[in-house]
Subunit: 478 residues, 2 copies
Amino acid sequence: MPDIYDLIVIGAGPVGENVADYAHQRGLSVAIVERELVGGECSYWACIPSKAMLLPGLTLESARRVQGAAQAVTGDLDVAAVLKRRDSFVQNWDDSGQVEWLDGAGISLVRGHGRITGVRTVSVTAGDGSVTELTATHAVAVSTGSAALLPDIPGLSDVDPWTSREATEAKSAPESLAILGGGVVGAEMATAYTSFGTKVTLLARSGLLGGMEPFAGELVAGQLEKSGAVLELGVSPRSVSRGDAGVSIELENGRTVVAAELLVATGRTPRTDDLGLASVGLTDGDWLEVDDTLLVRGATNDDSPWLYAVGDVNHRALLTHQGKYQARAAGEVIAARARSRAVDDGPWGLHVASADTAAVPQVTFTDPEVASVGLTEKAARAAGRRVRAVEYDLGSVSGAALQADGYSGRAKLVVDEDRQVLLGATFVGQDVSELLHSATIAVVGEVSLRRLWHAVPSYPTISEIWLRLLETYGRPSE
Amino acid sequence: MPDIYDLIVIGAGPVGENVADYAHQRGLSVAIVERELVGGECSYWACIPSKAMLLPGLTLESARRVQGAAQAVTGDLDVAAVLKRRDSFVQNWDDSGQVEWLDGAGISLVRGHGRITGVRTVSVTAGDGSVTELTATHAVAVSTGSAALLPDIPGLSDVDPWTSREATEAKSAPESLAILGGGVVGAEMATAYTSFGTKVTLLARSGLLGGMEPFAGELVAGQLEKSGAVLELGVSPRSVSRGDAGVSIELENGRTVVAAELLVATGRTPRTDDLGLASVGLTDGDWLEVDDTLLVRGATNDDSPWLYAVGDVNHRALLTHQGKYQARAAGEVIAARARSRAVDDGPWGLHVASADTAAVPQVTFTDPEVASVGLTEKAARAAGRRVRAVEYDLGSVSGAALQADGYSGRAKLVVDEDRQVLLGATFVGQDVSELLHSATIAVVGEVSLRRLWHAVPSYPTISEIWLRLLETYGRPSE
């Protein structure tokens, strides 16, 4: 006899937990399947440990940048203490607190590897080999996330490279670390390990933080080099091997980089390779394409929709917070459809993830921090929008100058000229991470530029950059 | 022969400078009158030096609150270095940089004490006694600001008390400091001087930071005491006197507080006592009441309006940024009326300071920081609004916990139940100052709660408090 639930969620990361919770709060019975730790990648091997590893170094550097405070900082970062603090934030990789939360929320946990076996059926194989058959009366939601993608480089699999997992769970800092990839993971881990005193060499095919406004990667690269990291940009590895000295990365330009460890951070791959997708007309290993209500396109169906993909696995926006946002919509819409209630799937409705295309926020905890939301100027133009962008030097804002001696940063707004609203914003500088949500609300709220003139930034904060950007754009004359 | 300008601005603080600049940019000729330093109170004796005095201590404390970073902080704040840094931010009280800016902007500076002598006429008496008569073809704007109010306490004028000026220009930290007043100035200076090692005793009639949400003053008071300050709340001074031990403050409860210096921070008084107001039907020493276009009510007039009051002096919102906001509207509307262009004076129009009543932001740089905008719950209820308020513990947000060990803080949203928009928000905690502008945009933009669910806070930032507050309020079900 199979266990029957209204909804089966595969993957108990923050995204799966939220799908389950929101649906359950609307009255559905829910089982959630997890083969590793409840709490998922973010809690144990991504956002939480990475910020825990970055923050002490960033905070110390902030103090060093203020005369009067700087004199009190006479020692170095205590790396063992940083890692011990990191361990406490990841609960020493023990998920009992998260399991307790599931229990309290009334969600049934089924431990093991879940595989879809047909429309609304899931088979879960536990560690001991026992199998539980689950049937959903309404829906199955896949939120298995993504894993580090290992590129096809000769020798790579033989050198036991680090991925984001090993980088965030390291028990000590290696003497040297080569990082392959200039995206968010590469840039953040270069920042963290450099603060630990590790000799970091970052190798990337192009510049840092591609896809963001160009000055973001430039400012981060500049500071990394100032802090002692070596950046090899515009390079590609030809092969890798491990010897007594550590890992050797032979580059296509003929040079060789040697480091104690190699972190590969070149992208992500969906965790869908052993999920039983073929049983419902989909392809194992593929990203799951969804509509705005997170419903998977192309799955074998009966009269009513049943398969959802939420979070990284749908490839809309590979960020925990955005996955959780999708999860709220998905939990709600699954419940609404199960109860035959009206579905609010117009733009910005209750049951859609409209922000996925218009307003994805992201903070990279590098030095300087990079905070962005919505479209870059380039992306907006590529989308055919009539845009005008304005930039301003953050260091010349009083609040920033007060915050750190020699403050260096830059900000940009991308304006939709037809509608006179913001399409995107980017802030790069120390302590800009909390400033981002102002732009997120402006973009999502479609607040007009005219009205934004009335949103007064408090003086002297870094937020005064808003006034400078509006002045740079020009005040309407009538 | 009097000098003739389209607009005469009395007072060259940031507010006067902005009135002048915005009007001049729209084509008016402008003279600005200043009897002290161009740049005004904010630049030399308020926001700038106070934040410069606070920031190093706050930054150092932040580093001490993060295990790993804390170990590197072995010394104390270098007070001499803090004050030297402060000196550089106030340009050593030299206004030549500001004068240069006025020159570059094409605004004529007339140094001396300006007095209104009749409709559109101003007489300026320079330090050497010479008098310049100015005539405005269109308008006179008063932006003389406010000064510290010395309460009527027996003996006070004989003890040479500090006001915010002496507190922000001090060349060294006294051994002990009594502070009279629990408002923003009192709380900030208690924080700064406590960080300098001064033994601070703060005396206030009621709690700290009255007018804000109650938890703001409570959290700041708690931390001040933890840092070693003595708080005497609910007390009133009966008399003061100065002896060999310093200033003695005899309280009405019979106790006596003795300190090397006494800072009086009990309120502000308008700088209108010697402004010639009586010549145009107004009362010397009064605050100047204005309409939403900053036009003074009740002044002797001819056919067209001419007298404006902008900034502290109109008593709408005694904050530099809010005065500058008014200044932008005033500069524009003066120019529009001078050129007989349409005046956009509806709510949130180009020519009004609508935010003065709906959305005044304020950050108090105490530990924890207090950031608020719009109405408190109490004020909203007093205004007859149908409101619901939600609160949440900031320390239980991941981004905050990562930011500081033992993070303590609280946040609150005040919701207009009829319109489902925010009327106000308050954030109290370390590093919340840049978070405020998100709420300011939400209030000013009148962004609906439904839409705010789509404004995703980046994880893990302190901004995630937005999600927690929305969840506490409850998600709409259809």
